[in-house]
């Protein structure tokens, strides 16, 4: 296996697509249809011509009625769980499973759920967890990616393969041994214990290595001529130039670890360390006689911070997922 046979070939595709889509942001983002009239193409002239002919299957062609109906039917189906959650959480529990148009609106479910479980604490825990993981990942991945991208050294191929292996075997699968390690380190039921296995991210190293490789050598050499050390070159040249990749990776990492469940469930057993996902499950499972209004309210509170962030930064989010892929 050469390095080019690695996921690199895949992500070269995705990163290149990202860089070109970044040059024409309106095309790749979920922008409104008005702005998307600037077709996602390289040459405006050919785009205009293509639009003039409007072949039935054309990228920017208008969809037929059947397509619109199908697309929206599927869209509604996809939104249904969220719509239900909002309905149930916003109405008294008598209406949780009864869909009457005149049902009174209320925010009481959120208040009750918030009081019934320490969601504030869970929120802080999740926030700390995600921040700690991201900070460690960024620093470690930057250093490793720099080594792979700009140094030729013996054993680099083997070292790189060692890294790439993690793309296949994620810490999630090795819960038994990792639990043993975390327990041995005395980190059971700590936020650090949840975070530590994810500090070294093969995906992050890989993504940044690709980004660093695209930095022109001339910039590097010029900085060296000016007397900058390798360290300074990294922080002054490479890191700033890879900023879009950092943003993309950060969003993917945050959403992944915000939503992660199984490993935190295993490591934590107290309120002080539980993240939102585990807290929600404890809340939903111990509740006697399922009160759907309470559960959906808690569910929405768990998903809300990330979801609101997603709504605010929708364009960046979608682009970063395109760019960065999984995790």
């Amino acid at each position: 296996m050469t390095t080019s046979a690695s996921p690199s070939s895949v992500s070269e595709g995705t990163t290149s697509s990202a860089s070109s889509s970044a040059s024409s942001p309106s095309s790749s983002s979920s922008s409104s249809s008005s702005s998307s009239s600037s077709a996602p193409v390289t040459t405006p002239a050919s785009a205009a011509k293509a639009r003039a002919s409007l072949p039935a299957f054309h990228a920017t062609g208008h969809a037929g009625r059947l397509d619109v109906a199908g697309a929206w039917l599927l869209g509604l189906l996809w939104l249904l769980p969220l719509l239900y959650a909002v309905w149930s959480a916003a109405h008294p529990s008598a209406y949780a499973t009864r869909f009457a148009l005149g049902a009174p609106l209320t925010l009481e479910n959120f208040v009750h759920a918030w009081q019934a479980a320490p969601f504030g604490r869970y929120l802080v825990n999740t926030f700390v967890l995600v921040t700690v993981i991201l900070a460690a990942q960024l620093v470690l991945a930057t250093l490793a990616a720099y080594a792979f991208a700009r140094f030729t050294f013996r054993g680099s191929e083997v070292a790189f393969m060692t890294v790439l292996l993690q793309l296949m075997v994620m810490p999630d699968v090795l819960i038994v041994e990792n639990y043993r390690t975390i327990a041995w380190m005395g980190l059971r039921d700590t936020i650090l214990g949840i975070a530590l296995p994810y500090f070294a991210s093969a995906f992050g190293i890989f993504l940044l290595r690709q980004a660093f490789k695209t930095v022109p050598r001339e910039l590097d050499d010029a900085a060296r001529v000016e007397g900058a050390s390798a360290w300074q070159v990294l922080w002054r040249v490479y890191v700033p130039l890879a900023r879009p990749i950092y943003v993309a990776y950060a969003l993917v990492s945050i959403s992944h670890h915000w939503n992660n469940f199984l490993w935190p469930l295993i490591v934590t057993n107290s309120v002080e360390t539980r993240p939102l996902t585990v807290g929600l499950q404890v809340f939903a499972a111990t509740d006697q006689g399922i009160d759907w209004s309470l559960i959906t309210a808690a569910t929405l509170m768990t998903a809300a911070p990330l979801f609101i962030a997603f709504l605010l930064f929708q364009r960046q989010f979608v682009q970063s997922f395109m760019r960065a892929g999984i995790r």
């Binding site: 595709g13 249809s33 509604l76 996809w78 993690q166 075997v169 090795l174 499950q281 979801f307």
Partner: protein, 291 residues
């Protein structure tokens, strides 16, 4: 700076990441193999070498076989279904559908919500008597069905949740790939009088191939890794109908505290992932029109 002489510099840069990678990926993988040939230490009895004993138990364990079968079926159904749906979605929102921005949001939303949270909502959908599906089917006079409570339908119910969760996520990659395809190709095809299906089959689909390889691999890995909805919705039941390998590992290790048997189970899981890795590299090597 001399790049070749100071050969310890790159290693120093790599050190922290490599140490952690080894500690939480490579070492545990090897330790799993090692522990799988020992017995679990119990009160009064320490761990002893038992050779293939755990694997022999595995062969005779109907739950293991069921979990393996379920997991393979799970991958075999959810991966193609999610991919087909994601391509259809991407083709739709690539065109000028009214409300395209909202539609993209609708498709992508499940990907951003925690599985643990949406599984709770789906749990309600599937609830007999007053769940959403029950209400709809009763309104049509189709009667009631305990979707998660019946061994015949429980796994399928979980698969639907997984497909719903993953399709929108994969759509993003296909959308990105579709936008890379030059519109002159569509133009040329329409001049040739190609139908929309022909254009997809002959132009778009081959050009989407690298994306498909990427998505398939990630989807397969996910199929063996994601068990959040099992925890919430069925806990492997009824009658192990929704038992998946990783969930069984979790149960054996953290409910029954039989860590060496869990290690043997994990070895099976690792073997399956190794097969995925092998196929991946073979596929990527043989790809001709890979950029």
């Amino acid at each position: 700076m001399n790049r070749t002489s100071a050969s310890w510099v790159p290693w120093l840069l790599l050190l922290p990441a490599l140490v952690l990678l080894v500690a939480f990926t490579h070492y545990p993988a090897v330790a799993t193999l090692w522990h799988s040939v020992f017995s679990t230490a119990r009160a009064g009895a320490s761990s002893v070498f038992v050779g293939a004993e755990n694997y022999r138990l595995l062969l005779d364990d109907p739950v293991f076989w069921q979990a393996l079968r379920n997991n393979l079926l799970f991958a075999l159904v959810t991966v193609p279904a999610a991919i087909v749906l994601s391509i259809v979605m991407a083709l739709w929102v690539h065109r000028q559908v009214p409300g395209r921005a909202l539609l993209r949001l609708a498709y992508f939303t499940p990907a951003i919500l925690p599985m643990i949270a949406v599984a709770n909502i789906w749990l309600f959908f599937y609830t007999p008597q007053y769940g959403l599906i029950a209400q709809v089917s009763q309104a049509f006079g189709w009667g009631d069905h305990n979707w998660l409570g019946q061994p015949g339908t429980a796994l399928a119910a979980l698969m639907i949740v997984t497909i719903w969760k993953e399709a929108g996520f994969f759509m993003i990659f296909y959308l990105a790939a579709l936008q890379q395809i030059s519109p002159t190709l569509a133009e040329a095809a329409s001049l040739e009088g190609a139908s929309r299906w022909q254009f997809f089959r002959r132009v778009q689909w081959p050009l989407l191939m690298p994306t498909t390889v990427f998505v398939v691999i990630n989807a397969v890995i996910n199929a063996f890794r994601l068990v959040d909805h099992v925890v919430v919705m069925t806990r492997g039941g009824p009658d192990n109908a929704t038992q998946l390998l990783l969930y069984y590992v979790y149960q054996v290790a953290f409910s029954f505290w039989d860590t060496s048997y869990a290690a043997a189970l994990t070895v099976v899981l690792l073997t399956l992932l190794a097969i995925v890795a092998f196929v991946k590299f073979r596929l990527l090597d043989s790809r001709t029109h890979y950029q």
